[in-house]
């Protein structure tokens, strides 16, 4: 394992996994709070189109993905706010439109499916130095805004009406969450891939909220779970790659899911104990 980390590509991969593992659950917590757990997935599908546009035009697929994903997220937010279509249906439209357009444009660009697959399922080991800087910068922005604005973002999602009366610019904060979610999707694109992006945003939250009793606790613990899953998944896939080809993305997500499975009974036990204490008090 130590030998593995001697490789420069593994060091880059490790940095990217740490940044993604920490940043994704921050936005994931706000999405779960809004009951929009699948929003990351919808944005991920839209980002496929962004990547394809990058492949077609020769621009950096990462930047085109950020741009298209952000536009898709804003569109989703507008549709949700206007209430013309249910949020659920709006998501479905984005899912399919994004994926279909992405695959089609990639074909037109004359790229083969393998090139797209790097983005769909992640390919930590082919990350360039520029990508690492990019990932770290965006992840830092997501974490700083996600934690720094947590009182406002929490209030808006907890009770919209109350936030409006309190004078918060609810719309602006909703848009901010949408854009940050799009940025997170793009950050996580290289590590877990667009199709599993949402998992790294949401599964750590699902695991941590089993045992946490507060929003802040859930958020911080989810970051820890994301970090452990990111690093652990990368190392597991690297170990296994001597025997078979295992992409890091699925390993990271499965590890996060395993933590959820462990946290579930622990949370149930904690809650039962709590209730017992209340009743006897």
């Amino acid at each position: 394992m130590i030998d593995l980390l001697g490789y420069e590509f593994m060091q880059r991969a490790l940095i990217a996994a740490i940044a993604t593992g920490i940043a994704a659950p921050v936005i994931g917590t706000y999405l779960v709070q809004r009951r929009l757990s699948l929003m990351g997935d919808g944005i991920g599908h839209v980002a496929v189109t962004g990547v394809a546009i990058g492949l077609l035009t020769g621009w950096s697929p990462t930047w085109t993905a950020v741009l298209v994903a952000a536009l898709g997220a804003l569109l989703l937010e507008v549709i949700r706010e206007r209430g013309h279509t249910s949020g659920d249906l709006a998501l479905a439209l984005l899912f399919y439109g994004g994926l279909a357009a992405g695959v089609m444009i990639t074909g037109i660009a004359g790229q083969n499916a393998a090139r797209l697959q790097q983005y769909l399922f992640g390919s930590l080991t082919t990350i360039s130095v520029a990508d690492v800087w990019f990932t770290m910068g965006l992840a830092a922005a997501v974490v700083l805004l996600g934690l720094g604005l947590s009182p406002q973002l929490f209030a808006v999602a907890q009770d919209r009406d109350f936030a409006v009366v309190a004078g918060l610019r609810v719309r602006a904060y909703n848009m901010l969450i949408a854009v940050l979610a799009a940025v997170t999707v793009t950050v996580a694109m290289r590590t877990v891939g667009l199709l599993l992006v949402s998992a790294l945003m949401v599964v750590p939250v699902a695991a941590s909220q089993q045992v946490a009793r507060s929003f802040r606790g859930t958020l911080l613990l989810a970051m820890l779970v994301g970090l452990l899953a990111g690093v652990g998944g990368l190392l597991v896939s690297a170990e296994l790659s001597f025997h078979a080809t295992v992409a890091p993305g699925p390993a990271i997500v499965l590890l996060a899911l395993a933590m959820f499975v462990l946290a579930w009974p622990l949370g149930a036990w904690l809650r039962r104990r709590e209730r017992g204490r209340r009743l006897s008090a």
């Binding site: 757990s37 604005l149 209030a155 907890q158 507060s214 802040r216």
Partner: protein, 312 residues
């Protein structure tokens, strides 16, 4: 009236929802320190009125003024304490009682700055007022519906506002929690807060109310001294209240029908079998000083409870 502008005033406002007018030409004004109960049957527009007063619903015509300022230009949001109508305080992620209450300070918090000493103190005091200090670190969803409602009141309280708008905080709340809510409201009122409370049944807050506004079909059907439960029902039924124009009381003698021709309607609202009759006869509404408004109903029973009148 003093020279101070009313805390909240609506000037013949009309509010439309989906093209249908749910409030029509409503003009009410609440002065500082008043405790107003906003009543009426479901769909009469009482919640809509509160939502229009807080700026949650736009008005199709007319104007809403808060502390004398047009609502669109009103920036001093921490002066408003809003308690929305809802079953609980839950969301997709657990939140502790302290966190929900702390979100009430949001209009005073500055961007990207940690909570200050004053924020923490206000949260602590708000929890004390509603009697939930010992539950501060519990998850909100672990509390009963009534306790969650108290959390929402504490959240509004944390901003240390001058006026509270409460939208049916008593709905679906058990009796002990209704009392706890009423105690909290009584304390706030005593401290000088203005309170606009949407209630279905006067019940536990009867002693606290200074004034009743009864809505019917999107209009004000009655605006004056507190009514008994029976009178409220009379007021929102067409033709039962002689001259149901707002603002004419206490000049109008309020006929109180013991026979209750609309008994069926009343029974629908009586959630506590066995308790309901005591409820109807109890002098829970008018302070003794106002017994003359409806002599024979409130008078004989409310002697000796001088503390109620003392508040005015």
């Amino acid at each position: 009236m003093s020279e101070a502008p009313p805390v909240v005033a609506t000037d013949s406002i009309t509010v439309e929802l989906g093209g249908r007018a749910v409030l029509r030409d409503v003009s009410v004004s609440v002065d500082a320190g008043e405790f107003v109960a906003l009543m009426g049957p479901n769909g009469s527009g009482k919640s809509t009125l509160v939502r229009a007063m807080t700026g949650l619903l736009p008005t199709a015509s007319g104007a809403v003024r808060l502390f004398g300022t047009e609502i669109d230009r009103f920036r001093d949001r921490s002066r408003l304490g809003y308690v929305p109508q809802r079953a609980g305080a839950s969301s997709g992620v657990p939140a502790s009682v302290a966190e929900v209450v702390a979100s009430g300070r949001i209009s005073q918090r500055r961007l990207l700055r940690p909570a200050r000493q004053a924020d923490r103190r206000a949260v602590r005091e708000a929890l004390e007022v509603v009697g939930l200090s010992d539950r501060a670190h519990d998850t909100v969803t672990a509390l009963s519906g009534g306790q969650q409602q108290r959390v929402l009141i504490a959240r509004a309280l944390a901003a240390e506002p001058d006026v509270f708008f409460l939208d049916e905080p008593m709905a679906g709340v058990d009796l002990p929690n209704q009392r706890a809510l009423a105690d909290a409201l009584g304390l706030l009122s005593q401290r000088g807060a203005t309170i606009v409370l949407v209630v279905h049944e006067i019940g536990a807050v009867g002693d606290l109310i200074d004034r009743c506004i009864v809505m019917r079909d999107g209009r004000v059907a009655y605006d004056g001294l507190p009514l008994t439960e029976l009178q409220v029902h009379a007021a929102h039924l067409p033709g039962h209240l002689p001259g149901h124009l707002p603002g004419q009381l206490p000049g109008i003698p309020l006929a109180v029908e013991e026979h209750l021709p609309h008994g069926a309607e009343h029974d629908r609202h009586a959630h506590h079998p066995g308790d309901e009759h005591a409820h109807e006869r109890a002098p829970h509404d008018c302070p003794p000083g106002h017994s003359d408004v409806a002599p024979g109903v409130v008078g004989p029973l409310d002697g000796g409870e001088g503390d109620r009148g003392a508040r005015r």
